[in-house]
Subunit: 261 residues, 2 copies
């Protein structure tokens, strides 16, 4: 008998070689599996994530599931037990016991990624692991306008780095937002999509910044989408600014359905 747990987890990605287990590397999955094996006295537990995050990418609301062998533990106790033995760059925030039909990857209806860009001339030492850096004048209105062309269902091939194993690159972008935070001198990009391709957010951010800086026309996105060609956008924003913010298992709330106009 095993019990399936669904847990929400936050991590500071800067000291991890990404989410996915790799031998001899410090990964999020590997670190959680090691902690679980302490609780099971050595029985291996496989952790499934809602998706991989790359080296240096952070999560505020990554979701995982695993089948815990042996005696069922209350969600509250599972959180406490795991947080007491985890290294400080990972923290469990929520826990539920779920049906075995629930799968953290296949049951997800969408994901929310956030990207932070610092506009400071020199990188603030306290932000160096948590923002991308773009010390150039950018026009936020241009980026806002351009970003609306991403909404809806498209083949996002032009925004997928090689290396992904997924063939079907059609996704639905439900929500995009580009906002300036004056106090922190940052641009915050938010994207909610039915699913994201490899490096997709980082490529989208790089393209939007080129539009904001005037290096690319505001109406370039429909052309790039229809080209279905990764060579159309050569830049990729760095991992440091990227946060997996939330995974939706419910339908995407109406307020985030900008695709339906």
């Amino acid at each position: 008998m095993t019990t399936r747990y669904k847990m929400t987890v936050a991590y500071d990605g800067h000291l991890f070689h990404g989410f996915q287990y790799q031998p001899h590397q410090r990964t999020v999955q590997g670190t959680i599996e090691t902690a679980l094996s302490k609780m099971t006295k050595g029985k291996a537990v496989i952790v499934e994530g809602s998706g991989r995050t790359d080296a240096g990418v952070h999560a505020l609301g990554q979701v995982i599931h695993f089948d815990y062998p042996g005696k069922q533990i209350s969600p509250e106790r599972m959180i406490c037990a795991l947080n007491s033995i985890m290294p400080l760059d990972i923290i469990f925030k929520k826990c539920e016991v779920v049906d075995e039909k629930f799968h953290v990857r296949y049951s997800a209806k969408g994901k929310w990624y956030r990207y932070r860009i610092s506009l400071d001339r020199f990188v603030d030492p306290f932000k160096r692991f948590y923002t991308g850096h773009y010390p150039y004048p950018v026009n936020i209105e241009k980026m806002k306008k351009a970003a609306t062309d991403l909404l809806g269902t498209h083949d996002f091939t032009s925004f997928a780095a090689s290396g992904g194993q997924i063939r079907n690159k059609v996704r639905t972008m439900y929500y995009v937002n580009v906002a300036k935070n004056e106090q922190s001198n940052e641009i915050i990009f938010d994207f909610i999509c039915s699913g994201f391709l490899y490096n997709m957010v980082r490529i989208l951010v790089a393209m939007l910044l080129e539009i904001g800086r005037g290096k690319r026309p505001v109406n370039d996105i429909p052309r790039v989408i229809s080209a279905k060609d990764r060579e159309q956008v050569r830049e990729t924003a760095p991992a440091s600014g990227l946060f997996l913010y939330h995974v939706f298992y419910e339908n995407i709330p109406e307020k985030y359905r900008l695709d339906r106009d």
Copy 2:
């Protein structure tokens, strides 16, 4: 001929063994001196700081001075040159050419330290290097009230860790503030004093937290001050939450002179 530069510098202290130069250790002073020696093609430049910060302690507004040999460089160019060769955990924010009578330590009229305490049950991974952690219920009003007893001129011997070399422990506390930030679930402590003794802020914070938690009476501070005995406060809050926020070379502004009532 040398030129004296006064510079304001911020650093993330978590990967430094403190400010002061130590052989075979990564220190703020050592790192800046190495950068300067690249600019002078090997001529040693000694960096003076307004004060030392310990391992793990951060600065938003540390001030340094040094005598730069050879051709005078504009402050603007000095900032650019240094920031381009510094590691990313140190950044220069301001630069002035000053008279040789200016001394970064002896000319200072006061310093402002800030301390951040996270009240979260488990440490937020993104705050682990930048806050102390106190997952207990605390009464902010009690701490606010108690802190006012620190204002004015006192012998602060009870709040000085052994290891400091200073004999005269009389200082003037100009300003104290204890505030809750609801959004981040943190307590922010601010102290402006004519000078701080070794570990003084971290000991004061530990004592105020004991008062907030009810482990010490609200009116305990006058007794502790007059005891002149470090054994009266045994705890020291961790380095991670401490920030050197500002150094005053002008008179302390009136709005920060709560000592004059």
